[in-house]
């Protein structure tokens, strides 16, 4: 009877020590996560073209017109992006003659068709979302206002669009 008692006592002691060891250290894990986005690409797909313009006659190109400018954007599917623009106030013929341009209009969509959300291009951010395949199409229109004595020639300017994820 004594022997089993000693054995059980020793067992209890051993278990107590094991329990003490088990609770003296512990560990847990967390996860590190990141989502790498597809880099954005922007292509000037089509120039904004006013065609022939006559002195003294304003000419407007709507975003739905064939002469509308177009930017094609590609990036991460369904990602939020913001659009901002650097817009000229004049076109130049390279000889110091200027042709005022303004009344900018914009439209963006994810299908490449001429229907979508209208906006006013500006230096401020316009927010939108890329399509499920990561595409966005941006159309630009505007108006030139030639003077009655506007010198004849070829006028051009640069329209810059910047796209960033947000």
């Amino acid at each position: 009877m004594r022997f089993p008692t000693r054995v059980s006592a020793a067992l209890v002691a051993t278990l107590s020590l094991l329990a003490a060891e088990a609770r003296a250290q512990n560990s847990a894990s967390i996860t590190a996560t990141a989502n790498v986005l597809t880099p954005l690409t922007v292509v000037g797909a089509q120039n904004l073209s006013f065609g022939n313009v006559f002195p003294g006659l304003n000419k407007t190109v709507a975003v739905t017109d064939a002469g509308a400018g177009r930017f094609d954007v590609a990036g991460q599917a369904n990602a939020n992006v913001s659009l901002s623009f650097v817009l000229p106030s004049n076109l130049s013929d390279g000889s110091g003659n200027l042709l005022p341009i303004g009344s900018w209009t914009g439209e963006h969509n994810t299908t490449g068709t001429a229907t979508g959300a209208n906006f006013t291009p500006s230096a401020g951010a316009t927010n939108t979302t890329l399509s499920g395949t990561g595409n966005l199409y941006v159309f630009i229109g505007g108006q030139v206002t030639p003077a009655v004595n506007q010198p004849a020639g070829l006028y051009s300017g640069s329209v810059q669009m910047t796209v960033v994820y947000f």
Binding site: S16, S29, I30, A34, N35, Q76
Partner: protein, 156 residues
């Protein structure tokens, strides 16, 4: 039977000082360390003080006792097709708060063991930041890695 009882009590008394603690030492992950959205080629850091993105683990144990915490830090995250995204941890990227307040941390180097004293209620929080280093040609997708924290009492 009396002898057995005495032996048991004696051994239990011996065992108690060995454990040194009345409450089990527990650790649990509270929040993952997130680097959010990354662009290829642009290193992105998450601060240990970021309440939304920093990693957080909670320790529970015996009040006012000292513990040593040791991170198991990955060198990279794994993503689509086995692609890897390197991680870096700097000397100031971990923090401990006995008050469990992200705004009141003692900074430490997560690459090294760190000694901390549990609060009066036997708790403490560990916060972790770091830097993700995507390459220029980093494949798009979700990347993950496991970070382990081991905590032990410093006295037996």
């Amino acid at each position: 039977m009396r002898t057995a009882l005495l032996v048991f009590v004696g051994l239990a008394l011996v065992a108690a000082p060995l454990s040194g603690q009345g409450r089990p030492l527990q650790v649990r992950g509270v929040r993952s360390l997130s680097f959010g959205l990354l662009l290829p080629g642009i290193p992105t850091s998450t601060a240990r003080t970021d309440p939304a993105l920093s990693g957080e683990l909670e320790i529970r144990g015996e009040r006012n006792l000292e513990v040593v915490v040791t991170f198991g830090l990955p060198s990279a995250m794994t993503g689509p097709g086995g692609a890897v995204l390197p991680l870096a941890f700097a000397a100031n990227d971990a923090g401990y708060s006995g008050q469990q307040s992200i705004g009141s941390q003692t900074a430490f180097d997560p690459r090294l063991p760190f000694r901390a004293v549990l609060s009066r209620n036997g708790r403490g929080s560990i916060y972790l930041g770091g830097t993700a280093l995507p390459g220029n040609g980093q494949r798009a997708g979700t990347y993950t890695a496991q970070i382990t924290l081991t905590v032990a009492y410093t006295s037996p």
